[in-house]
């Protein structure tokens, strides 16, 4: 399959899944009736459309940051969840939710996103600081730090659940499972602030990430300013993941599975991998969101459950295939 065919195919899929998502839900929405003053029109403009936009951006961000993280750590199994960004963001936002109670909705609902974003950036900086060695930034240390931070954040969130009242507990639990419910236009604005720099800059670093895959020393010898490049990548990944976690909770596996699929299609070249991952991530999260609304309609499942249910087994399949390949060698 040529690169062009794949790009066009993904855009077509994106269009189809977007239209499907707009029409899916407890209230039937006919696209011809969205301009009049009906209930369906309100559902379309106030619920479906902002939700779709948020889903598209969140999917694109999760997938592209996953792809970038895997190249940065030279490990196809690496994922922003792995280095503690998601957990750090979640802990910070969860703390806000429980400790502030209902006043978390002050500041136009910006408190939660800001807290999660700050938590994501802080954790990433902490991991980066802890993993700097004499030889530069050590990838192994970084992953190990991520594991430790994940454990700490998990414990912290457990403690918060213990402290929380009934109402907060329910809110916290649903948010942690990853949900696109209650998406509003102002959430979209918050997400855009992160999405524009991430989706604009990351694809421009494709060839530099390719050099990093050769090894940090090799990349340096080929003229890459390794320290500067890695720093920028870390910030962009933290920005993207932090913003998504803030608004939707933890949606797992998109950042892991999507780059895998794209690599199967076009190979590991980051110049193609990054933009295509963004596209496919948007498609897959939109589909997953539609499914989460269809399965238990008129209620809905948190989308994180759907992505984990589909992504988890898929990932295990990849692992067994990988193991079989290694055994042959």
């Amino acid at each position: 399959m040529s690169h062009r065919t794949i790009v066009i195919g993904l855009w077509v899929l994106l269009l189809i899944s977007a239209l499907f998502s707009l029409m899916t839900g407890p209230v039937a929405v006919d696209l011809s009736g969205v301009l009049d003053d009906s209930v369906a029109s309100q559902v379309f403009w106030q619920l479906r459309l902002p939700r779709l936009m948020l889903t598209l951006l969140a999917g694109a961000l999760l997938a592209i940051t996953g792809a970038a993280a895997q190249s940065l750590f030279r490990n196809p199994l690496a994922d922003p969840g792995l280095i503690g960004i998601s957990a750090g963001a979640a802990l910070s936002a969860g703390a806000m939710m429980v400790l502030l109670g209902s006043s978390v909705y002050l500041l136009g609902g910006l408190m939660l996103p800001l807290a999660a974003f700050a938590g994501g950036v802080l954790t990433t900086l902490l991991v980066a600081r802890l993993s700097v060695t004499l030889q530069g930034v050590s990838v192994t240390n970084m992953l190990l730090c991520g594991i430790a931070i994940n454990a700490i954040a998990l414990a912290g969130l457990g403690g918060l659940k213990y402290l929380a009242g009934d109402q907060q507990l329910r809110q916290l639990s649903f948010w942690l499972l990853g949900s696109l419910n209650h998406s509003r236009w102002q959430d979209l604005l918050v997400l855009l602030v992160a999405a524009v720099p991430v989706l604009w800059l990351l694809p421009r670093y494709g060839q530099k990430l390719n050099l990093l895959l050769l090894g940090e020393q090799q990349a340096g010898l080929l003229g890459l300013n390794v320290v500067r490049c890695k720093r920028l990548m870390i910030l962009l990944i933290a920005l993207g993941v932090g913003a998504v976690v803030a608004l939707t909770g933890i949606i797992g596996f998109v950042g892991l599975v999507v780059p895998h699929l794209v690599r199967l299609l076009t190979g590991p070249d980051n110049r193609r991998l990054l933009p295509l991952s963004a596209l496919l991530g948007a498609v897959l999260l939109t589909v997953a969101d539609s499914v989460s609304r269809l399965l238990v309609s008129p209620a809905e499942l948190p989308v994180g459950i759907v992505t984990a249910l589909v992504g988890g087994p898929f990932f295990l399949l990849l692992l067994t295939r990988r193991k079989r390949e290694l055994n042959i060698c």
């Binding site: 895959l213 050769l214 090894g215 010898l221 690599r263």
Partner: protein, 254 residues
Amino acid sequence: MLTATGLCLKRNGQTLLDDISVELPPGEITVLLGPNGAGKSTLLGMLCGLNRADSGRVCLAGVELSGMEPQLRARYLAMYTQQQPLNFPFRVAEVVALGCYPLLLDRSATAARVAACLQQFQLESLAQRDYTSLSGGEQQRVQVARVLAQAGPDCQVLLLDEPVSEMDLRYQQLLLQQIRMVAAAGVSVCCVLHDLNLAAQLADRVVLLQQGRMAAVGPVDSVMTERQLSDLYQVTVRKTDTLSGPVFISQSGP
């Protein structure tokens, strides 16, 4: 000309490099010999400008290398390192093409250069293969080809850290031939080798490194003597002169 003066490096109380001064003149091939842990790779790591010694400087045509813009340095200096951690399924041609990165070539010029490098290392038949599926020796050939793809018209220094360690005899000789061609174009070459016979075939000049010190420097005949080499490696080295040059045999025992 690459000039290193007074390089000293200590880590954890251990002296890794002790006052090393070495010059790499244009067009000359310097072979670094020494036992494991003598500091050969450490020295190359300093010569390439990526790492800084505790004291001393490395200058290319009078300009300190570590202060140079990375992109510019990459046009002047190419280096093959022992560790090649690439584990993503790039195609062989894609790996070699990454070597062209600092040359700022357009797409067709890159393709032409990659094709030429693949041909030089007889890798044409592997061009579309997945790099991770290759054998160790094949991977080494690909990485060396990538490094030589980087050595473009501006290249002045080529550093190679055990570039033949996994190659069979045929490709060892092929690489020596390529290195000689690069040197003939006026590039300063410094190469770490463990095979004394290959070293004698390749070297214009030999540097013996022992526990971070330079034990001897000079042409093959005066440096690669039975006594010097036996002292250096702590084994008995016998040297026999033949019509096609000296032949070295090592035996156990001092």
